[in-house]
Every structure is written in structure tokens, then in C-alpha cells.
């Protein structure tokens, strides 16, 4: 085969370009430090990446900038005082942190909250989830340079925070759950207001679906990136939306016998077969819609009656051990409570969702490109207080 002059020249040029490129690509390994202060980290997490060109060859998250030692602190507090501490673990969905601890204490005392308190607990639990995940949905855009969704999220989350404040008195740290029930009944007019706010949040989900999930740039940054197969997810103990995005059909709201009122509502557990960043975000969007559905249905089914069962004035929890975990906004959150019959717990092991969810980062970031680091971290969704405790 003979080549024309023109073809020969272009061949030589392309060879030369390849050679130049190969020389340029032989770079020395570079260490890139992300954080501790970074908008993608929801707190202070530092990630050390070793780069080869544009690819991450090794990544290591460095936690511990926010370690507050809650497991030790619970040992010098009484059982009712512990809720104040656990509020601050996942600070965006605080009420949801209290529920498993209170349920563990109730299990040891062999009491159960009255039906009215159980339904109100479930409603507040789901409202915390909406408040938590709506901020995630807004924040997602910021990681990719889209500023608008985060303003929408902050605006609409305020409706939910106002409701939580109206019922409990605290926007972020309600400290409302008590052993045996709730601190107080709902205020007048709260149910109607909730109905309106939940409708607004459903509209917010539609907006985000359209604005963000329908965006071509968003899709190409998310689809097929950071794939986590189901067996790896189980191995690392991934839970919540991260596990369901890998096709694991498991939701602790449905799959365990727990004194919360999820069986009163008609709702659906979403799973996605892909396991990529897109799937994790999409599952959270659907879950926010499901939570809105659960809240709307439960508002019609709040039974009459007291919100507090009879408990002694000074609470002593009988000797024993109990494990209770619930499906929190970030995943499975559980408390292993050991009581020696005293006023306070002997040992509390706090199993927080983000700790396991973030331990997969060294595996998930291996071989990805630098811009994908941020989207994978964002889609895994962790909160620093939930990692460090």
C-alpha cells in the first residue's frame, strides 16, 4: 500500500504527537489533599489521594476532626439525658437519632409508647428524613457547579424545620423523644400546616427531578460513575439508600418488627439495579417522595389518647442488653445499649451509618478520575458528626 504525501505527513505528525503525549504522561505520582474544609464533605473530612496523571491510584479518608467521644459521655449521663447527645450525631435529621436509643431503653424496660405517640414519632421521624435528604438533593448540584438547587433546598427545607420547631421547640436539636412517649402533644393547627408543607416538598422533588436529574451534564457526570456492586456493599456494611442503589432490597422500616407506625401507611421501597452515583441520588429523591406520602397518610391516622405512658419519675433501666436500629436518613443507625440497672447506661455502642458508608471510599475511589472524586463522595452522602460521633 502506498501512501500519498499528505497521508504520510499526517501519519508522521500523529506518531510524533503520540510520542510527545507518552513522554508527558510519564508524570511522577502526585498527592492531592482534599479538605478538611471542603464543600463536598458536610463537615471536616480530609481525603488524601495519590494521583497518577488524572487518575486516583490510592485514596484514604482521614476522619477524626470532629470526634466528640459520645460513647464515653453516655456512661456518665442518665438515660433521659442521652438524647441531648445523640441529637448531635446526624445534625440534619436529629429527631431520627433519638428514636432508636429511646426504643432500646424501652425494650429493656419492657414498656411501649402509646399508639398516639408512636404515630407522631413516625411522622417526626419522616419529617427529619425529608429535611435531611432535601438538603442533600440541593447540595448535589453545588458539587457540579449548579448553584440554583441549593437555594431551592434551603428555602423548602425551612418549611419542614418550622414544623419541627413548632412541634418540639428546636429546629435542629429537638430533644423531644422520651422514654415511654413524647415530651408533649402536637400544637393546635400543626396537622393542617404539615399537610401544606408536605405538598410544597413534593413540588420541590418534582422541581429537582426536572432541574437536576433531567440535566444532561448532571447525568453524564453521574451515570456509570462509582459503581458499587451489591456484595461489596454488604461487605463494607453499606446501608440505607447506598445499599438500595446497589439492588439490595432491604429497608429497616419494613423489614423488622419495630414499634413505629410504618405499617399504617401504603408506601414503597425503591431499589435500583445500577449501583452508580446516579442510582444513589435517584433513590434518595424517590425516598423523599415516599416520606411525603407516609407523612400525608399518617396525618389522617393519629389516634386519640395520651402521648406518654406511665413511667417512674426517676428512670432506672433494668439490667440487660438491647440492640435497636432504624432506617435513618443516612442508613442503618443503631444503638447497642448495656444497662447494669442504674440510672445511666453502662455502655452504649453507637453504630452510625456514615462510618460504614465512608469506609468504602478507599475502594470506591481507586482508579476514578479527579472530577469524579467529588461526585462519588457527594452521592455516598455522609455527615461528619455521623462518622466521628
Amino acid at each position: 500500500m502506498t501512501l500519498t504525501d499528505r497521508q504520510q505527513l499526517s501519519y508522521i505528525a500523529s506518531q510524533a504527537a503520540d510520542a510527545r503525549l507518552n513522554v508527558e504522561l510519564e508524570t511522577e505520582g502526585m498527592t492531592l489533599n482534599i479538605g478538611p474544609q471542603h464543600p463536598a464533605t458536610h463537615g471536616t473530612l480530609r481525603i488524601i489521594c495519590r494521583l497518577d496523571g488524572e487518575q486516583v491510584v490510592w485514596a484514604e479518608p482521614v476522619a477524626g476532626y470532629m470526634h466528640r467521644g459520645y460513647e464515653k459521655l453516655t456512661e456518665v449521663r442518665t438515660f433521659p439525658q442521652v438524647t441531648t447527645l445523640v441529637n448531635r450525631i446526624d445534625w440534619l435529621g436529629s429527631f431520627a437519632n433519638e428514636v432508636p436509643f429511646i426504643l432500646a431503653a424501652e425494650k429493656l424496660m419492657e414498656i411501649e409508647a402509646p399508639p398516639r405517640a408512636q404515630v407522631i414519632r413516625t411522622i417526626l421521624f419522616e419529617l427529619s428524613r425529608i429535611a435531611n435528604v432535601s438538603l442533600f438533593l440541593g447540595d448535589l448540584g453545588v458539587q457540579m457547579g449548579a448553584i440554583t438547587p441549593v437555594f431551592l433546598a434551603f428555602r423548602d427545607r425551612e418549611y419542614i424545620l418550622n414544623l419541627i420547631e413548632g412541634a418540639t421547640g428546636g429546629r435542629f436539636h429537638p430533644n423531644f423523644d422520651r422514654i415511654g412517649g413524647l415530651k408533649d402533644d402536637l400544637p393546635k393547627g400543626w396537622i393542617e400546616e404539615t399537610r401544606g408543607a408536605v405538598k410544597k416538598l413534593e413540588q420541590f422533588c418534582d422541581t429537582i427531578d426536572d432541574l437536576l436529574f433531567g440535566n444532561e451534564i448532571f447525568q453524564s457526570r453521574m451515570r456509570g460513575i462509582g459503581i458499587i456492586p451489591a456484595d461489596i456493599a454488604k461487605d463494607y456494611g453499606l446501608s440505607g439508600a447506598n445499599a438500595r442503589a446497589s439492588g439490595i432490597d432491604w429497608d429497616l422500616r419494613r423489614d423488622q418488627d419495630i414499634p413505629l407506625s410504618y405499617d399504617l401507611a401504603d408506601w414503597k421501597v425503591w431499589t435500583h439495579p445500577d449501583g452508580d452515583s446516579w442510582a444513589r441520588c435517584w433513590i434518595r429523591l424517590q425516598e423523599t417522595r415516599e416520606s411525603c406520602k407516609i407523612v400525608t397518610q399518617l396525618l389522617d391516622q393519629i389516634p386519640a389518647g395520651p402521648v406518654m405512658t406511665k413511667v417512674p419519675r426517676i428512670i432506672k433501666v433494668p439490667e440487660g442488653e438491647a440492640w435497636v436500629s432504624t432506617e435513618n436518613p443516612l442508613g442503618e443507625m443503631g444503638y447497642y445499649v448495656v444497662s447494669k440497672g442504674g440510672l445511666g447506661p453502662f455502655r452504649v455502642k453507637i453504630r452510625s451509618a456514615s462510618f460504614n458508608n465512608i469506609s468504602i471510599v478507599p475502594w470506591a475511589l481507586k482508579g476514578v478520575y479527579v472530577p469524579d472524586v467529588i461526585t462519588i463522595l457527594a452521592s455516598l452522602y455522609f455527615i461528619l458528626g455521623d462518622i466521628d460521633r
Binding site: 476522619a63 477524626g64 470526634h67 467521644g69 460513647e71 464515653k72 459521655l73 456512661e75 456518665v76 449521663r77 442518665t78 433521659p80 439525658q81 425494650k107 422520651r178 436529574f213 433531567g214 444532561e216 447525568q219 453524564s220 451515570r223 456484595d231 461489596i232 454488604k234 461487605d235 463494607y236 456494611g237 439490595i248 432490597d249 432491604w250 423489614d255 423488622q256 418488627d257 414503597k268 421501597v269 425503591w270 431499589t271 435500583h272 439495579p273 435517584w282 405512658t309 406511665k310 413511667v311 419519675r313 426517676i314 440487660g320 442488653e321 438491647a322 440492640w323 436500629s325 443503631g334 447497642y336 442504674g342 440510672l343 455502655r347 455502642k349 462510618f355 460504614n356 469506609s359 468504602i360
Partner: protein
Amino acid sequence: MAPLSDDTTTQDAPGADAPAALPGDGLREGIIDNLRSHIGDAIVDTKITPNDDLWIRVSTEAWLSTGQALKDAGFTYFCFLSGLDWMPSPYGTSEEDPDDEPKEPDTEIVQGYTGGETRFQVFARLADLDRHVGVTIKADVPDDRLVMESWSHLFAGANWHERECHEMYGIGFDNHPDLRNMYLPGDFEGYPLRKDFPLLARMVKPWPGIVDVEPMPAEDEAEAPVEEKGDES
């Protein structure tokens, strides 16, 4: 706008709506029997709370093989791993009135469910996500050598939990790839979650909830379901 790949936005895994059967105690007994057929007499004690939960204590040597046997039996989800220090705190429970005579601290080591012989234990929780059942495994850590076999090659998630346990309790893990501290500075001395590690802030200044006890408004009504003391401090 054209979708990038086949549109999966309305797709979900089959069976997502399937009703979930909740596990019964028969299933839990079956789990114990199955484990016994694999590790034999290494099961020291078991406990089942009816319709609730399952505890199994195994011997120290069988810690790794128990994890393997349970993983093979379907317990593929790693929930957590941590340590337990059963020694009562020599500093008391900080429930005492600071004006009272100091009491002689309790030194008797009493283990919890499924018993034990040593001060330290490790415990872990695994779950079977298909049968929706979980199990708590415990094992004694020998007092003379605080080292266990590492699970980190069995469950990748155990890596960080064992690092945390090592840092907080000083329990070592053989064959662990990297037992660096997670939270504390590398030259930190002591193991914070051990009961004999003092919580200095509490010892310097007693908890205000103990010294400023206000009389409760419903003091006379013994029946009234009122608030617990010291909650709002």
C-alpha cells in the same frame, strides 16, 4: 433532551413490593444449630430473647472461623464490631451526690448476656438481609494477651471498626493491615473507652444536674407521669 443510556428512572428491582416475612425464633435456633455443625464446641453460650434477638458467644480461638461460618451461612452484611470493658468504673457512675461520703467502688466484674470469663470482650453484629435476621457474636479477649484474630480479610468493613476498637480499648487484631489511630493523635496515651480511663472534665467539675436538683412540680402526685429529673439542663 435525549437520555444518555436506556432510561432506568422508572425501573426498580423485581420483588421490591414483596411482603417481608419476619423471622421467628425457630429460624434463630436453626442458625445456632447450623453454626454448631461448623464450629462444634466452640459455641460457649447462646441467648435468644423471644421474637427479638440472638446472641452467641464463641471461644477466643474460634472468632475467625465463626465469622467465616456465618458469612457462608448467609450473614453477609457486616453491621459493626466493637469492644466491651466489663470492669465497673473505679470513678463511680457520677450519679452520687458530691457531698455524700465517697462509697467504696464496686470492683466485681459481671459480664452481660451469654456470660464470660475476662474483663474485655469483643462483639460484632452480622445480618442476613434476605431472611431479615441479625446476630450478635461475642468472644472473650484473654487478659494476658489482648489480641484477637482480625476479621478485616473476611469483611472489608471490619477494617475501620477494628482500628477504632484498638484505639479505644487497646485490643490488638492479628493480621490487620493497618492499625493506626482513627481519631486520636498518634502519640496519645491510654485507651479512652476503658472504664479506668478518667473523664477528666467530669471529675474536675461535677455535673450540674446532680448539685442543682430542683423540686419537681408534681412531687406529691405519685401517679402523675411527669418529666425525668435533670433533663433540661
